[in-house]
């Protein structure tokens, strides 16, 4: 935990309302993006983020600084995300919207340009990521989108670095199987 964060936490505990915003601000957008990909729904991510911030606020007094504040905050949020998905509640997800609208054609244009190819690859990856089991998706999202190392992921998910390594590998192999055609394609053409 940085000195600045320590100071902000002291200020919050002393009653400063501004300090809380300053403490969370550096992580808010990143955390939201991570949640949106884990939950597959920005709407759900909005809910979970709000709950996570309330919890972080309420529990700040219990934060002992044993892990970084970033890890602590993400742990709260990811745990809530898992709980959220387990709850039986309606969720507007990109996947469901897509299924309602029907699958988009992979390509309608004759002249395939680089942009449309990239968009296509992104969509296929997004879909494949959504098909992963939650435990694999979470580690992949934290690794690839958040750039967390194995130890940090382990601290957030409260699993060992060895388990993180195994899950990341298995998740990647599943993605590889799903995306075999595009991965074998020369990326330079995309």
């Amino acid at each position: 935990m940085s000195d600045e964060e320590q100071e902000l936490i002291r200020s919050i505990l002393a009653g400063s309302s501004e300090a809380f915003e300053r403490l969370i601000s550096p992580y808010g957008d990143r955390l939201f993006n991570t949640l949106a990909h884990i939950l597959r729904s920005p709407e759900a991510a909005e809910d979970v983020l709000q709950d996570a911030l309330v919890q972080a606020f309420v529990k700040l007094g219990t934060y002992q600084g044993k892990s970084s504040f970033y890890t602590w905050l993400y742990r709260i949020a990811v745990n809530l995300a898992f709980s959220y998905r387990r709850r039986d509640r309606p969720m507007i997800s990109m996947d469901s919207q897509k299924s309602e609208l029907g699958d988009e054609p992979i390509s309608r244009v004759d002249a395939v340009d680089a942009d449309s190819l990239r968009a296509e690859r992104a969509e296929m990856l997004y879909t494949a990521l959504g098909e992963l089991a939650e435990e694999f998706r979470a580690v992949i999202v934290l690794r690839e989108l958040e750039g967390c190392d194995y130890e940090t992921i382990g601290n957030i998910l409260q699993i060992s670095p060895g388990t993180v390594r195994s899950r990341i590998h298995r998740g990647r192999m599943q993605l590889r199987d799903k995306l075999a055609p595009q991965l074998k394609q020369d990326p330079s053409t995309a």
């Binding site: 009653g15 501004e18 808010g28 939201f32 993006n33 309330v54 007094g61 968009a119």
Partner: protein
């Protein structure tokens, strides 16, 4: 191509291998076209993540602002939850319930005469029935003792204490009965950090009335315009509340209750003091406890430094106190808390200290489980 090598390739790309493992992998890559193909595909896969859309929260600043604002509630806000600026009703439910749990009216009383000591202990089971009165009874006492308590700020109310018991307000009474003129209090984070591992407690109810995510004991404290000198966070089973209160305020043997005494015959029959108890008699229809719900009560007591030291010593030997587990706190904060208490006891040798007890009443079911451990 072995499974272990595949996993090592993945970790190799993440720079998560030891130097020895790295050497092994590079040697294997040099020899195996299949491994090189796997490496290339996984590398492409990783690069493709850069193509994924990035989601931005539209109202993040507002969310942060609202969570932060909840730290500095203005007096009276408990009656009218703030208008949500964000469309998420759920968010406000969680914020509002968190705050409701904390807006405990601190009603204080002058020291009761000996004849009314029995009335001081309410909200108990009848194991020690001779000492117990229902909170409804206590409410009447409060009417007599502090007719003007309602509407007064905490500072005024605290100033009226003379070693007697503080009033009790429970979280559910606050949420069920908005207090039109209840004692005003701010909500802030307490300065007594808890263990990260601690769960539940003040500000949390299992029935969902309170903080959605739950707050750790002592993380929220009631503060008023005049802060208590010291805050003690406790957790107790309902059946043991009497014992706890005896520690907080040792009292002489209680006389049998008078004709007006209403003994609680079962947990379901216990009554709570609504936040505006001094104004409005408790309504049994709305204040009956749910014995299976965790509830929080605030209890304001005035002690001399010597009394406080004695009480804290007794609490330290008890299982009730959950805010003093200094071994669970970062050294710096634990040391600070220790110094604060020492300075307090030294500085106010000749005056009374205003002490706020935040007590989590554990649900009956939880009690059984705890006792079994």
């Amino acid at each position: 191509m072995s499974e272990i090598n595949e996993e090592l390739i993945s970790a190799y790309l993440d720079h998560e291998l030891t130097p020895f493992e790295r050497e092994d992998v590079e040697a294997a890559l040099a020899q195996s076209p299949e491994l090189r193909q796997l490496r290339d595909e996984l590398e492409t896969l990783r690069e493709d993540f850069n193509l994924l859309p990035v989601h931005y929260h539209q109202n993040l600043e507002q969310v942060l602002e609202h969570v932060a604002v909840s730290q500095s509630l203005q007096p009276g806000i408990a009656n009218t939850p703030p208008k949500p600026l964000i469309k998420k009703a759920k968010f406000w439910m969680s914020v509002a319930t968190t705050l409701a749990a904390c807006l405990l009216a601190i009603v204080t009383m002058r020291p009761p005469p000996a004849a009314t000591n029995a009335e001081r202990l309410a909200m108990t089971d009848q194991t020690e029935s001779s000492k117990n009165q229902s909170l409804e009874q206590q409410s009447r006492f409060m009417d007599k003792a502090m007719p003007n308590a309602a509407g007064e700020e905490f500072s005024g109310a605290m100033g009226g204490m003379g070693g007697g018991l503080g009033g009790i307000a429970t979280a559910d009474s606050v949420s069920n009965e908005p207090s039109g003129s209840g004692v005003q209090a701010d909500v802030r984070l307490a300065k007594e950090p808890q263990s990260e591992a601690s769960e539940g407690g003040f500000g949390q109810a299992e029935d969902g009335n309170l903080a959605s995510g739950g707050s750790a004991p002592g993380t929220l404290a009631v503060q008023s315009n005049k802060k208590p000198d010291y805050t003690v966070t406790l957790a107790v089973s309902r059946n043991e509340l009497t014992k706890l209160l005896e520690i907080i305020v040792p009292m002489p043997a209680a006389k049998p209750a008078g004709n007006e005494a209403v003994q609680a015959k079962s947990p379901q029959q216990r009554k709570t003091v609504p936040a505006n108890a001094a104004d409005t008699p408790a309504d049994p229809q709305t204040t009956v406890h749910n014995p299976n719900a965790r509830q929080a009560i605030a209890y304001a007591v005035e002690h001399t430094p010597q009394e406080l030291r004695k009480v804290l010593d007794r609490l330290d030997m008890s299982k009730y106190r959950i805010a003093n587990t200094n071994e669970d706190l970062p050294d710096e904060i634990a040391e600070k808390a220790k110094k604060h208490l020492a300075a307090l006891l030294a500085d106010k040798q000749n005056s009374k200290l205003q002490v706020l007890y935040l007590i989590t009443l554990e649900p009956v079911e939880a009690d059984a489980g705890k006792e079994g451990k």
